[in-house]
């Protein structure tokens, strides 16, 4: 095939990018080379629109061993133990083929983690679907959940927490973000930087097929009517092979045979070989006839661009080939020496004894385009002045029931019953709590992890929204008694070539940076997914934050279920009653305008650390952060989990009850404490200038508030638990 501008454009390259390629090479690339350029220069691999802004992220900290730029981030949790973690999107493929899209998303992120030498110990996910009424939603949800379960369950890594939301802006672009945590000895971490010349380059894992060709390019474009035709670009997952690959790699990693290792993810053999060489400032030479292929007559172009799953590329020490091969033979996996490192600083490909490509590595990596895209600042919307009569006909009871059965608040057990969340025998907080918690096997430590996003807040005001999600993640970790350490982010946005979408991106990143700096909660890994847009309609900006924290002694972990009748519930943090952008305003008052709640970072930090202090002093029986739906939804969940009720005190002063109960002010926690500890708790809170209210007392079975609320926990449980199950069955 002759390469020209049209062929380049069909590969997703812009005309001026094609010109740049010809200028750099001082010739027209052949088709294989063009394919390699298109794979390396697309948005997904090159971060060309986002790179400029990602530089500003707060990525350093005392406990950060490895920040962004590797397969995953690494943090120190003491005693030579380190946690490797990352979140990644698999949005485009999951919309086209939900089962395989989601499954390979999980497979890909686990590979990123065990590539670094870590055994995966927990999976999480954040999944977002269109309106429940939309005709595709149900099947997409079913397929995605089955795909996530199908892969994670088979590998035997527990899925310990997650988040599911519904919003019409995802009707044409669902989001599937998968996160994995792995455990590694901090002195035995493996990186992707190649070193040394004439070192063997090894291919291990599954054979290469024609699946997933141009997957990364597909994920770098908007959708149109012909999206179904893109099905062949979705990869097919094989969790069994990944399980073997995991065990084989960890076995090989037990000694020092490996110089560098990189999984073949997006853009397959192309990006893995280029990245390893680029980081080591080396060249690489591959003989493509040696690549194990699943199908006949595959061309160099297809071999280089295939995104077949469950494959790894390894640069080995000389002389270790036999030993390595033995391990991979034991696990029935393909093993082939396909090339070597060179000092040419080029990627050179041979096929049928002919040189089929030769490109300086720099052109693909360092010289990849970087764009400073135009973006539009988004002003803080005006506050809504709610009037008394807006609430006149409303009953708190009815509103609470309506919100508890709302798709975005209701119980998600239908989903997590399908994920194995207890395999590995260390899960001590299951999905459905503020964070999932797994023990560090054989120690007294445990790690907590949570995934969060708030697209409505980010849509209303990206800067506040960006800050808010970092704080939410921080609170979810503190609520289980964990010391927050670091985060990973998955930045899901629309088309960056549109100023509004680019503005949303820039300001969300700004917000994330500001909050993570203030809270010393650095970003250690992540990915960007742009072009979540179908026929000109983009998604609401949905940055997802995955937070990780440490519990030094797992016996001190806190959960949200109410423990004992007679205990007192406190609201830590001040309640102003901010209803704009709340789920109450949206679903009860049909008001979608207004600013999201203000984020006061000083209060977040102070209230968070003080709550953690109460927990560490063993003064807290249960804890839950206040978020979507406000105080009343938060306490209801605590009641439902603990199968106990609460008698709520009369409110002090002239507050609007709806604002008090449903307002979504930030930096708040509900804590259950024993009566006799109230004095001690009061002292600590006052010493730290933390505001608190006494909400009420734990009782046996009802939620009660003067003569306005009297709801039995049994009834409320049905409301909360039945919505999703019924929706999926009907």
């Amino acid at each position: 095939m002759t390469v020209n501008e049209k062929v380049a454009v069909d590969h997703g390259l812009k005309k001026d990018e094609y010109k740049k390629i010809c200028d750099l090479l001082k010739r027209v690339p052949n088709i294989t080379e063009l394919g390699i350029f298109s794979a390396m220069w697309n948005e997904h691999c090159s971060y060309k629109s986002s790179r400029k802004h990602l530089k500003n992220l707060h990525t350093k900290g005392k406990k950060v061993i490895q920040g962004p730029g590797e397969n995953a981030g690494v943090i120190d949790i003491g005693d030579d133990d380190a946690i490797v973690f990352k979140i990644e999107s698999h949005n485009h493929p999951s919309f086209i083929e939900p089962y395989q899209g989601a499954a390979t998303g999980v497979g890909g992120i686990m590979r990123d983690v065990f590539t670094m030498g870590a055994r995966p110990i927990a999976n999480l996910n954040s999944i977002h679907f269109g309106s429940p009424q939309h005709k595709k939603t149900k099947n997409l949800l079913r397929g995605v959940v089955k795909g996530i379960g199908g892969y994670g369950n088979c590998i035997g890594v527990p899925t310990i927490a997650g988040q599911t939301t519904f919003d019409e802006s995802y009707n044409g672009n669902i989001l599937v973000n998968a996160m994995t945590l792995g455990l590694v000895n901090k002195n035995k971490i493996f990186y992707s930087k190649a070193a040394g010349i004439n070192k063997p380059v090894i291919y291990v894992g599954s054979k290469t097929g024609r699946d997933g060709i141009h997957g990364a390019s597909m994920a770098s474009a908007v959708f149109d009517d012909k999206i179904e035709e893109k099905k062949p670009t979705v990869q097919v997952g094989d969790p069994f092979t990944e399980k073997l690959l995991l065990e084989a790699c960890l076995e090989l990693m037990a000694d020092d045979s490996i110089i560098a290792i990189q999984d073949m993810g997006a853009a397959g053999l192309t990006s893995s070989s280029v990245e390893m060489a680029s980081k080591g400032k080396l060249g690489i030479e591959l003989n493509l006839n040696k690549v194990p292929c699943r199908e006949e007559k595959m061309t160099p172009y297809e071999i280089m661009l295939s995104e077949s799953q469950e494959r790894m590329l390894i640069v080995l020490e000389n002389g270790k080939e036999e030993k390595a091969k033995k391990i991979f033979d034991k696990w029935d996996l393909d093993f082939a020496v396909i090339g070597k490192t060179t000092n040419s600083k080029n990627i050179e490909l041979y096929f049928d004894e002919k040189k089929v490509a030769s490109i300086p590595i720099d052109f693909l990596a360092e010289n990849a385009p970087v764009y400073d895209r135009k973006w539009k600042k988004i002003k803080l919307p005006q506050s809504i002045k709610f009037k008394k009569q807006d609430f006149k006909t409303l009953k708190i009871e009815d509103c609470l029931k309506k919100l508890l059965s709302n798709a975005n608040i209701c119980d998600k057990q239908w989903i997590w019953d399908q994920y194995d969340h207890t395999v590995m025998g260390d899960t001590i907080q299951k999905p459905g709590g503020d964070s999932g918690v797994v023990r560090i096997h054989g120690t007294s430590k445990a790690v907590a992890a949570s995934v969060d996003s708030s697209a409505l807040y980010c849509f209303a005001h990206p800067l506040s929204g960006g800050k808010q999600i970092v704080c939410e993640s921080w609170r979810n970790l503190i609520s289980v008694g964990a010391d927050p350490i670091a985060i990973t982010n998955c930045l899901n946005f629309g088309n960056p070539e549109k100023e509004k979408n680019m503005g949303e991106f820039v300001e969300c990143v700004h917000g994330i940076t500001e909050a993570s700096k203030y809270l010393d909660f650095p970003v250690v890994s992540g990915n960007v997914s742009f072009y979540n847009e179908t026929k000109d309609k983009g998604i609401k900006p949905t940055p997802t934050i995955g937070g990780v924290g440490l519990i030094k002694n797992y016996q001190n972990m806190i959960s949200m279920d109410l423990k004992n009748t007679g205990n007192i519930i406190l609201v830590i943090g001040k309640t102003i009653g901010h209803l704009d952008q709340s789920i109450f305003a949206r679903n009860i008052l049909s008001e979608k305008k207004g600013p999201p709640p203000e984020v006061n970072l000083f209060n977040e930090k102070n209230n968070g650390f003080t709550t953690l202090k109460l927990i560490n002093e063993k003064l807290v029986e249960s804890c839950h952060d206040v978020s979507l739906g406000g105080i009343i939804v938060a306490i209801s969940k605590m009641c439902l989990k603990g199968k106990r009720g609460i008698k709520i005190n009369q409110l002090k002063g002239l507050v609007n009850k709806f604002e008090y109960f449903f307002g979504e002010d930030q930096a708040r926690y509900l804590v259950e404490i024993q009566k006799e500890n109230l004095t001690k708790v009061d002292k600590i809170l006052k010493e730290n200038s933390v505001h608190y209210d006494e909400l009420g007392t734990v009782i046996d079975e009802n939620i009660e508030f003067s003569d306005e609320i009297k709801l039995s926990i049994d009834d409320l449980e049905k409301t909360y638990k039945n919505w999703l199950r019924k929706y999926m069955i009907n």
Partner: protein
Amino acid sequence: MKSSVIIFPGSNCDRDMDVALKKFGFKNKMVWHNDGDLPQSDLIVLPGGFSYGDYLRCGSIAGKSKIINSVIDFAESGGLVLGVCNGFQILTETGLLPGVLQQNKNIEFICKNVFIKINDRENKYFNNIDKEILELHIAHNEGNYFCSNDELKKLEDNNQIAVSYCDNKGNCDYQANPNGAIKNIAGIFNKNKNILGMMPHPERMIDKYLSGDDGSLFFKNILNNLKR
């Protein structure tokens, strides 16, 4: 007391089982399916997981593996063989236990705590457990036990139905059946009751910080029997 856990490609509860056995005092060995002979053991465990990906019928390929012949010999000589989840599926595939495990009735993977009722005490797995009902954990896609009426009659006549799904009061009714298993069957014995296959995972319930610790009673009981 010595135990062996057999690892097949795709087993994923092997370590959990190892941890549980050791916690209660077994000297456990992990045995790779292709490594030849079985070490001398008092108990052999086929752990949960997805042997060979379960891409064919669950457990069918592992059921034909080399080491299985030694397991069959061991079982036929009266040795204790425990199969949990995928291990149970493998045992039915070898013919050591009757019946099959079909896909769950709701065609979904199920991971949750369940209650099981102990039906028989004349065996070394449950004899001295001083509880009628245990709370254990299931995590499977194919746990829907089925067998012919003749086989079912034999199981009932010989008291081979080891444990049945029930509610917290011991009622083995439709509501307490998570996967559609015939007669709420959660686990069965062979005729001599030295082989037990069951879907619930006792190894995931061995301390109070986990989903529960009724699994501890199970392991302690086996060990006490073997010590005698």
